[in-house]
Subunit: 289 residues, 2 copies
């Protein structure tokens, strides 16, 4: 179910610069019982990304209206629980000459909903198995942090393994620093301090990553954003990954190193769940915590 | 005029991974009097790129048939001279879960023709004006050399200037090494030696770049592929840029430094023109040399 510039469509022009050059941005959002989770944070990141790429930001009224319409339509169209994944794509639209952008930019706005993925609940409770990827994340300060459409590195990294028992791979930059997972941000705990890679030169500034840092600060957990090597992960007390769909997944095994699901990870899962409920003004139980 | 998997269409599915992630490759080819120039070299690069990205390469018989059909149709559809630009895009098609590619890949094959750009002949004869871009080229050995669809860096670099008197911008990597122009490869001549950046960590391995190196070797001009800084360009005897549409454009001014159109550049223009005629088995005059 896809809205392209407000109309139900399945196709976009070949000329769209999102297709020709990856000239755009996207957001992936959890929809819980019909409500988009952390929607304001996602919209805020999308608009800031548009500013950085010099793409006119979409009308927020229209965006919110279309998101609500699509979620409602999705939920009434079948026996859904109201849980789904919402994706927003904003591109620079068509036009321009080669890489040069058109004088008047008419962005393309795509909103789509997708079935909620059937990840086992065990992943959040008992943890997942991860590996290190050979594919490196490119270093580019100008694009670092942005959730842009140039994601070939992640595609190539995710293609490195087929083993269904491995759920995520950590990606390094060319200097060997850990940057992120293929679809997630990376954290580790050592001696009570929470560590996560800085994203000045590479990586996506995830919404959940930002919230985890905020929740840690609020609760007087020291957070250290810096660059570190694989050894730091392998000698950590706790390791976990985050994104808007999975929330927090503890790592129980990384290559041959094993970890327990530790107290900081579990506490952050509880705080994140409570923060979500507070934002939605709802009182649901999270089966994962 | 666009062929999508052999059918005349203008749109592709939103789900195409070329659109979602830039998960694909492209070629931009000169068509001269109805014939695709250096076609075998372009097809060879495309197929090698497919191998590197694990995308099944298209059938070369179908590809050649469609290219010929489209060029013929374009040339008979209006009062064309037979000169146009041909673009081929190959993507991983639709499917898969997130970045993970589908188990069975059904690539998308897009062939399109576009009017020949109206660059002034002066650009090839008297040279162009260029600048240095602030936008850096990301360092990623895995993707280096490939003409893939992740081209946001080039879009952002080209957006840095609107001055119509500046035709190209040189892009550096984060270490300050010259990598390429926004739409071209970079060369300079110093004391009779031809220099061009190595592309192990970044940049596109252009078809004309490869031919220039080959022609220089054949004619006993020493070619040095290495990493160099802006100072090397600014103190060069000759500077030029290349791509499949522009051929060779000498640089007459780079920021505040001026150059003459030198003998090595002019000789390479003549050799490239002759090589093109030999490959096409034709005897045309090139108005640019």
């Amino acid at each position: 179910m896809i809205l392209v510039n407000g109309e139900y469509k399945t196709h976009i022009p070949v000329t769209d610069r999102g297709f020709q050059y990856g000239d755009g941005l996207f957001e992936t959002i959890e929809v819980k019982r019909g409500q988009a989770v952390f929607l304001e944070q996602h919209i805020d990141r999308l608009c800031k990304g548009c500013i950085r790429l010099h793409i006119p930001a979409p009308s927020l009224d229209i965006l919110r209206f279309e998101i609500t319409s699509l979620c409602n339509k999705f939920n009434t169209s079948s026996a859904n629980t109201g849980d789904c994944v919402l994706k927003i794509i904003i591109t620079r639209g068509s036009g321009g000459r080669g890489y040069r952008q058109p004088d008047i930019i008419e962005p393309t706005r795509i909103i789509s909903v997708h079935p909620w993925p059937d990840y086992p609940q065990d992943y959040a409770k008992q943890g997942i198995t991860a590996r290190f990827c050979q594919t490196r994340v490119g270093l580019n300060p100008l694009l670092a942090g942005l959730k842009h459409l140039n994601r070939l590195e992640q595609v190539m990294a995710r293609a490195e393994w087929n083993d269904p028992d491995i759920q995520e791979g950590f990606m390094l930059d060319i200097n060997g620093h850990i940057i992120e997972g293929t679809m997630s941000n990376a954290f580790f705990v050592k001696d009570g301090v929470l560590h996560t890679p800085t994203l000045f030169h590479a990586g996506i500034a995830g919404i959940i990553r930002g919230l985890i840092i905020e929740l840690a600060h609020r609760n007087h957990i020291t957070v250290s954003e810096h660059l570190f090597f694989t050894e730091a992960l392998l000698s950590a007390d706790e390791v976990f990954v985050t994104n808007s769909i999975i929330g927090i997944w503890p790592i129980k095994q990384l290559e041959t190193t094993t970890y327990c699901v530790g107290p900081v990870t579990q506490q952050l899962q509880i705080w994140l769940h409570q923060f979500k409920l507070d934002q939605l003004n709802k009182e649901w139980d999270d089966p994962n915590v």
